[in-house]
């Protein structure tokens, strides 16, 4: 007698095969997705990691007392001192063009580095001191191996004579690559070697703060009203349709709205995180409302009946019982909305946050830029060295996103653990 449990009919075999096939399709899909992600993040991280290092050049500078007047130390021509230090290091350089190339080895920031040193310690005047200066972006690229040093001399950034200088500095250990602190502590700059991410980072943080403080409470209150209090009639349907439509409106339209209303009609400060946050809040609001309404709808009606049944008012019912249960879902909506706001560039372009801003904003009313806009600006710059800055800025943006989501997930877990 055949065992009915071990005997496999062809039909059953086909069903099992279909199942296995489907499982493998799923695995392949996930594998492809992960592959793309790894390639993308990996290449960005690979390029961006260069920006963590910055080449520095050591020069011995004679701080000439004749160039510095004692009562105006800060006003002296320090770039002249740096240039003469370079000339005395390479006395063979005589031609005007060669001199210009020689001066181009260090960043124009070198003069300020020297000034700050002398202002901090006036006793240095008259001495010869060894100082590490930030290298220019071209030298930086050369040291990091991103420039071609073979082929036609005229087509290269560095001709053989310049390469000789670099080689001679290298042999004296006067060229080093160090951790690039400036990238994390300074604002934007036209010089890639001086450009930092902090200004954009603070700008983004302030903008998102404004955005969250507006859109989260407004979104949740709107959702609670629509879901728990408003009568279900045609007006409610109309509002719902409009909210759903608004969630799908291209973000640049919100930028135009912000330009017309917040800047032109209300006269709020251009390029400020306040206006950026307002615009992003408008953009995020529909997403938040939709997610919060779904979260409220998912709370079982029996909880409402229980509270109303012992004489809680509708407000008490909502805030004591329904909203706490819906909060994890609302926070998920907030994560999605804020993540979208974080990566948004287009609406910020319309309200002037694309401007070149060097100072780090310290209030929501000061001009600022945001991380995605900074990436856009750097990617647009012609200097080779901005490439790695762009990638590094993308990494910072992704880290910011991860950090933000982590906080939201922790908050969500904290709230959903309440039974």
């Amino acid at each position: 007698m055949t065992n009915i449990f071990t005997e496999i009919s062809p039909a059953l075999r086909r069903r099992h095969a279909a199942e296995t096939r489907f499982m493998w399709f799923g695995r392949i899909a996930i594998f492809i997705a992960i592959g793309f992600l790894v390639v993308m993040i990996g290449s960005i991280a690979w390029i961006g990691s260069g920006a963590l290092k910055q080449t520095q050049v050591e020069l011995s500078v004679f701080i000439d007392p004749q160039e510095i007047s004692a009562d105006a130390i800060a006003d002296a021509d320090y770039s002249k001192l740096v240039k003469s230090a370079l000339r005395s290091r390479f006395p063979e350089v005589k031609k005007r063009r060669d001199k210009k190339n020689l001066y181009g080895l260090v960043s124009y920031d070198a003069a300020y580095t020297l000034r700050d040193k002398v202002v901090a310690d006036p006793d240095l005047i008259g001495q010869t001191v060894n100082i590490w200066f930030v290298a220019s972006d071209d030298l930086d690229m050369l040291i990091k191996g991103n420039l071609t040093i073979t082929g036609d001399e005229k087509m290269r950034r560095f001709d053989d004579k310049q390469l000789g200088w670099v080689e001679s500095l290298k042999q004296e250990d006067a060229i080093e690559t160090r951790f690039n602190r400036a990238f994390f502590t300074s604002g934007d700059s036209r010089e890639p070697e001086l450009a930092g991410i902090l200004g954009a980072f603070v700008g983004t943080a302030l903008t998102l703060l404004v955005c969250f403080c507006l859109s989260f409470p407004v979104g949740i209150l709107a959702a609670i009203y629509l879901e728990e209090f408003a009568r279900k009639n045609r007006w409610n349907d109309l509002i719902e349709v409009n909210i759903n439509n608004l969630a799908a409106v291209p973000s640049i339209v919100f930028g135009l709205l912000g330009l017309a209303v917040f800047l032109n009609a209300f006269g709020l400060p251009r390029s400020s995180p306040l206006v950026g946050g307002l615009v992003l809040a408008l953009m995020t609001l529909p997403t938040m409302i939709i997610a919060a309404r779904a979260a409220l709808r998912a709370v079982p009606p029996s909880i409402r009946e229980a509270a109303l049944g012992i004489g809680a008012t509708r407000i008490q019912t909502v805030f004591h019982h329904v909203a706490p249960l819906a909060l994890p879902g609302m926070l998920t909506g907030a994560i999605v909305g804020m993540a979208r706001a974080l990566g948004e560039t287009a609406p910020l372009l319309m309200i002037g946050m694309v401007a070149f801003i060097v100072d780090i904003p310290n209030s929501i009313l000061q001009p600022a830029t945001a991380l995605p806009v900074q990436i856009f600006l750097w990617a647009d710059s012609p200097e080779r060295a901005f490439l790695e800055k762009t990638s590094a800025a993308i990494i910072v943006l992704i880290l910011f996103l991860i950090l933000m989501n982590l906080v939201a997930i922790l908050l969500r877990n904290k709230f959903s653990q309440r039974f």
Partner: protein, 261 residues
Amino acid sequence: MNMQETDTLSKTQVSARNVNVFYGEKQALHNITLDVKRNKVTSFIGPSGCGKTTFLKCINRMNDLIDICRIEGDILIDGQDIYDKNVDVVALRAHVGMVFQKPNPFPKSIFENVAYGMKIHNMTKSKSELEDRVEDSLRRAALWDEVKDRLDQPGTGLSGGQQQRLCIARTIAVQPRVILMDEPASALDPIATAKVEELIHELRENFTIIIVTHSMQQAARVSQHTAFFHLGELVEYGKTNTIFTNPIDERTQNYITGRIG
């Protein structure tokens, strides 16, 4: 007012006069008139969709939550019209408690579940008084001994029968005059059902109880009066004994013998 009327008033807690209920165009209840006696258990029986739960929800105005629901006629509790425009539904529901078909404790601690109603109605002056009242309510719901060591644990972690008794404790904690029960034992096993029925029996001393049930045995066991609803009409209302042994209406006869329903 003569003696007889005073007597009737004092014995009657809830009285409905010509109540009609509509859901949109559809009429769910037709001209219901009945008097529920004080400190008695009254059960509403009838086949599904006959309007017994609808009528129950009219008594604490839970139907107000349904936008399309419209109610005509009068319902009086202790002689006061609860559909008067000056009546505050929140105050009404503090006096007319409700226990639902599915146990629905709040996702909070056992203590919080019972204390919540007293807190929102400011019924206690001190924390110790609140604790005493919580204990008292749990004792009266015959749940104290089972939960006294874990009052801070979630009410949703109890068994179904315990959850339902917790819901009853929560309801009696606010000291209502009337307790409405909507098939309170339909989601429970026979042992838990027996406990809830026993509890109903004890609570009768202090509360007027109206219970909707699908089980005729349960109606016979727990109630003194029974109302039979059919297709939105009140077919017959009287002493439980009479209804079950000697029904007047043919439809009641058919229902209790199992021919309809």
